[in-house]
C-alpha cells in the first residue's frame, strides 16, 4: 500500500513537471511574474497601525521582434517570433540572390513604466552567403510621446522609423552603431543603447510605446 502510494505520487509529480515544461514551450520566454507584499504593524509600539494591504507588482520579460521586409517596406516577408500578420507567420523566406531587404527590429514596452538603459544587438551574417549591410541605412522610431504605441501594427512601426542614425559609435553619438567584428571587413555588429564594448547613447522610452530600428541589407 505505501509503495503503491509512492508510485502514484511520483506519477503525479512527473505529470506536473511534464505539463509545466510543455506550458513553457508553448508560451515561450515571455513570462509574467507577480510579487505581492504589504506593510504591517509588527506590534508592540505605542500606536496601532492598520496593515497596508497587498500591493502586487507584476513583471514581464519584453520580447525582441525581428522581421525582414522587402526593399520598398511594403511587404513583411518573415518574422521571428512568428506573426500571423507577417506573411502568414513565416519565419524564413527565400529571395533571389542580390535582393535588397530591410530588417526591422523592435521592442514593445507593454508595461506601465518607462524603460531605461535598453540594450540590444544583432550580429549580421556577413559571410559570402550572408548579408551585406548598406552603409548609413540605420533609422529609428521616435523615443518620446510621438513613438508608435505598443499596439501599433508592423507597418505603422516601420513607417515611423524615419530618424537617420550614423553607423559610427560616436561623433556625433546617437542610439545605434554598426562595426566590423570579424575578419570579413564588412560592418556586421549592430548595437543599440549603451552596450558594453560598443556603447551608444543610453536608450530610454515610454510606457506603452514601441521602439524600432530599421536597416537595409543585401542578401548575398
Amino acid at each position: 500500500m505505501p509503495k503503491h502510494f509512492v508510485l502514484n505520487l511520483a506519477d503525479v509529480v512527473m505529470k506536473r513537471i511534464l505539463a509545466t515544461s510543455l506550458a513553457m514551450l508553448v508560451l515561450g520566454p515571455v513570462g509574467v511574474y507577480a510579487a505581492v507584499n504589504q506593510a504591517t504593524d509588527p506590534g508592540g509600539g505605542g500606536v496601532s497601525l492598520t496593515n497596508s494591504g497587498n500591493v502586487t507588482v507584476n513583471s514581464s520579460t519584453l520580447q525582441l521582434m525581428k522581421q525582414v521586409w522587402d526593399s520598398a517596406g511594403s511587404n513583411c516577408l518573415a518574422s521571428i517570433p512568428a506573426d500571423a500578420t507577417c506573411n502568414s507567420s513565416a519565419s524564413s523566406i527565400t529571395v533571389p540572390a542580390g535582393t535588397t531587404l530591410k530588417f526591422l527590429i523592435y521592442v514593445k514596452n507593454t508595461s506601465d513604466v518607462s524603460l531605461s538603459d535598453v540594450r540590444f544587438q544583432d550580429l549580421l551574417d556577413d559571410s559570402a552567403t550572408g548579408f551585406t549591410y548598406t552603409a548609413s541605412s540605420i533609422k529609428r522610431t521616435p523615443n518620446d510621446g510621438t513613438a508608435p504605441a505598443d499596439t501599433a501594427t508592423n507597418a505603422t512601426i516601420l513607417a515611423a522609423a524615419t530618424t537617420a542614425l550614423t553607423d559610427a559609435v560616436g561623433g556625433p553619438d546617437d542610439f545605434a552603431s554598426i562595426t566590423d567584428s570579424n575578419a570579413n571587413v564588412k560592418l556586421d555588429k549592430l548595437t543599440v543603447g549603451a552596450v558594453t564594448g560598443q556603447a551608444n547613447l543610453s536608450l530610454s522610452f515610454l510606457a506603452h510605446k514601441t521602439f524600432a530600428i530599421l536597416l537595409t541589407v543585401t542578401k548575398n
Partner: protein
C-alpha cells in the same frame, strides 16, 4: 554578356551548333544560401529582453537561359541545320522561382553580325508562371518592345554597338550605357524576351 549560340560552317547550308541551349549563368539555378540571424539582449542594461529567435533568409541564384527556336517556336536541338537567310528566334528568360520580386534585372546579348542579322522591330517580351515549360513560354502573351532606347521607353532596346553598321546589342532593363526602364520580375514569374535574326 551573352555569347552567340549558333555557328555557321560553310556554303549555303549552315550547320548549327546549339551550344548547350546555353544556360548563361548569373549562377547555377536554385542553389540556396541560408543566412540566419537574431536580435539579442547583450545584458547589462536596465531591462531584460527576450531574444527574437533565429530569422532565416535563403537566397537562390536565378539563371539566365538562352534558346534558339525555329519560327514555330520549337527549341532547336544541338546540331540542327539551318540555311543562309533562314530566320530563327532567340529566346532569353529568367525564372524567378522565389515568392519575392526580383528587382532591377539587367540582360545584355551581343549578336555576332558576321553570322546574324537582327530583324528590325522583332523584340518582344512575355511573363508566364514560374516553371512554365518551353511550350508554355512560347504560348505566352508576347508584347512588342521598340528597338529604340527611348521614346517611348520600355524595358528593352537594340543598338549598333560595333562595326559593321547594324543593330547588334540587345539590352533589357537599366543596363549602364543602354538603359531602358527598370525590369522587375514578380515572384513566381518567368519573364522571357525574344527576337528574330536571319542567319547569314
Amino acid at each position: 554578356m551573352l555569347s552567340r549560340i549558333l555557328k555557321r560552317w560553310s556554303g549555303s547550308t549552315a550547320k548549327v551548333f546549339v551550344r548547350a541551349i546555353l544556360i548563361l549563368a548569373l549562377g547555377w539555378p536554385v542553389v540556396p544560401f541560408a543566412a540566419t540571424n537574431q536580435a539579442v539582449d547583450p545584458g547589462g542594461g536596465g531591462a531584460t529582453l527576450s531574444a527574437s529567435g533565429p530569422l532565416t533568409v535563403n537566397s537562390v541564384q536565378l539563371a539566365l537561359v538562352k534558346q534558339a527556336r525555329d519560327l514555330s517556336g520549337a527549341v532547336m536541338p544541338g546540331g540542327s541545320n539551318v540555311t543562309a537567310g533562314q530566320q530563327i528566334y532567340f529566346v532569353l528568360y529568367v525564372d524567378n522561382v522565389t515568392s519575392v520580386m526580383a528587382n532591377d534585372i539587367r540582360i545584355t546579348d551581343l549578336l555576332n553580325e558576321a553570322q546574324f542579322t537582327y530583324v528590325a522591330g522583332s523584340l518582344e517580351t512575355t511573363a508566364v508562371p514560374t516553371g512554365s515549360n518551353d511550350a508554355a513560354i512560347w504560348a505566352g502573351a508576347w508584347t512588342p518592345v521598340t528597338d529604340a532606347v527611348a521614346g517611348p521607353d520600355d524595358t528593352g532596346s537594340i543598338t549598333d554597338s560595333v562595326a559593321p553598321a547594324g543593330l547588334d546589342r540587345v539590352t533589357f532593363g537599366a543596363v549602364v550605357g543602354q538603359s531602358n526602364q527598370v525590369l522587375n520580375i514578380s515572384g513566381s514569374t518567368l519573364r522571357a524576351v525574344r527576337f528574330r535574326v536571319a542567319v547569314k
